[in-house]
């Protein structure tokens, strides 16, 4: 249960950062924190008590005591894609800074919200 609380804590912290900060870099950091929280949540769904990694490294390991491999397989690719998406967002932030001269989202004129 503590894993769920931690994972959703990370997601809510990221959401709060994205909603309240004005600096674009801080918003991207919030996005990254949310990403981590979602990955942690997916992994913790597949957990079983006293489970081992789903690898048959030695003969005679009981498959019943292994954790669920499916969420791990999803998270494995999601981490790398998260890196690429964050890099893309940072490059857009650099471009935005070069165009407007500021990273403060409330000072950008065309942006009204």
């Amino acid at each position: 249960m503590i894993y769920y609380i931690g994972a959703f804590g990370l997601i809510f912290i990221g959401l709060f950062i994205i909603m309240t900060r004005h600096n674009l870099i801080k918003m991207i950091i919030g996005l990254n924190i949310m990403d981590t929280g979602v990955n942690l949540f997916l992994i913790s769904i597949g957990y079983i008590r006293k489970g081992t990694a789903p690898i048959f490294s030695k003969p005679g390991i009981n498959p019943g005591s292994m954790v669920d491999p499916t969420p791990q397989a999803l998270v494995l690719t999601a981490i790398v894609i998260g890196v690429a998406v964050i890099a893309m967002a940072l490059s857009l932030a650099i471009r935005l800074y070069q165009h407007y001269g500021t990273l403060n989202m409330r000072k950008i004129k065309e942006q009204r919200w």
């Binding site: 249960m1 894993y3 769920y4 959703f8 809510f12 959401l15 709060f16 909603m19 309240t20 913790s44 769904i45 597949g46 957990y47 079983i48 008590r49 990694a53 789903p54 690898i55 048959f56 490294s57 498959p63 019943g64 292994m66 954790v67 669920d68 491999p69 499916t70 791990q72 397989a73 494995l76 690719t77 999601a78 981490i79 790398v80 894609i81 890196v83 690429a84 998406v85 890099a87 893309m88 940072l90 490059s91 857009l92 650099i94 471009r95 070069q98």
Partner: protein, 232 residues
């Protein structure tokens, strides 16, 4: 004011999710799919690492989609960096420890990355992780000395690795009628030459992810590079 509203909104979402969260059991026995993969995984795919067999065999098509997402993100980043205005930035030159240490460590990092993606079907790791390790070696090179990577060759590596993945999938169609069918012999489990097409695809993914992430690094570090050359 803005913080207060944000806090209230997050609180509403959180209370809704937490109320439903208490109904999700934690640490209980697995789903049917997970049990099926664990019980049948070795005899059906030949890989002892069940996560790998899920990623590349049961859900191989899904992985192809994710590789394409990664490719599109890298492509978009390249397009955005093309429109950057090149302006001078002040960057301090690398210290002696960084430049010497990175030159010493670079081959070992490449070797470790290759080890990770070659043994993806036997031990924790695989193409995505190994590719990220290889790219971290290139990041170290970019941080330290005055070398750059040849972008054309990296793009070529990336495209060829993607093509290998697709062509192996299409050969599976030719042999059995299923995309990404495991047409090679499965071999003895828990040895390096086992699991049919899984190691081949993971090597291709390792090269592709490594080249892509190194390309992202070089796109973002290009300005720094010009500065170094002007100084030296």
């Amino acid at each position: 004011m803005r913080k207060f509203i944000g806090l209230i909104l997050v609180g509403i979402v959180a209370s809704g999710i937490v109320l439903s969260l208490f109904k999700i059991p934690f640490g209980t026995p697995k789903t049917k799919v997970g049990n099926y993969y664990l019980n049948k995984g070795i005899e059906q795919t030949g890989a002892v690492n069940i996560v790998t067999s899920v990623v590349l065999n049961y859900r191989g098509f899904d992985t192809l989609g994710e590789v394409i997402v990664l490719f599109i993100a890298a492509l978009g980043l390249g397009m955005v960096t093309l429109t950057f205005k090149r302006e001078k930035r002040k960057i301090s030159p690398p210290s002696l420890i960084l430049s010497v240490g990175s030159r010493f460590l670079f081959p070992f990092i490449l070797l470790f990355g290759a080890y990770i993606f070659l043994h993806g079907h036997l031990s924790p790791g695989g193409g995505f992780q190994g590719g990220a390790i290889v790219a971290s070696g290139f990041l170290l090179i970019y941080l330290s000395c005055k070398r750059t990577i040849n972008k054309e060759r990296f793009k070529l590596t990336e495209s060829l690795a993607g093509l290998v993945f697709l062509i192996i999938g299409l050969i599976g169609v030719y042999f059995s009628g299923y995309f990404l069918f495991n047409f090679l012999p499965k071999g003895v489990a828990n040895t390096l030459l086992s699991a049919g097409i899984i190691p081949i695809i993971y090597i291709a993914i390792g090269f592709k992810v490594g080249a892509e992430l190194a390309g992202i690094i070089s796109d973002l570090m290009e300005e720094t590079r010009k500065e170094f050359k002007a100084q030296s």
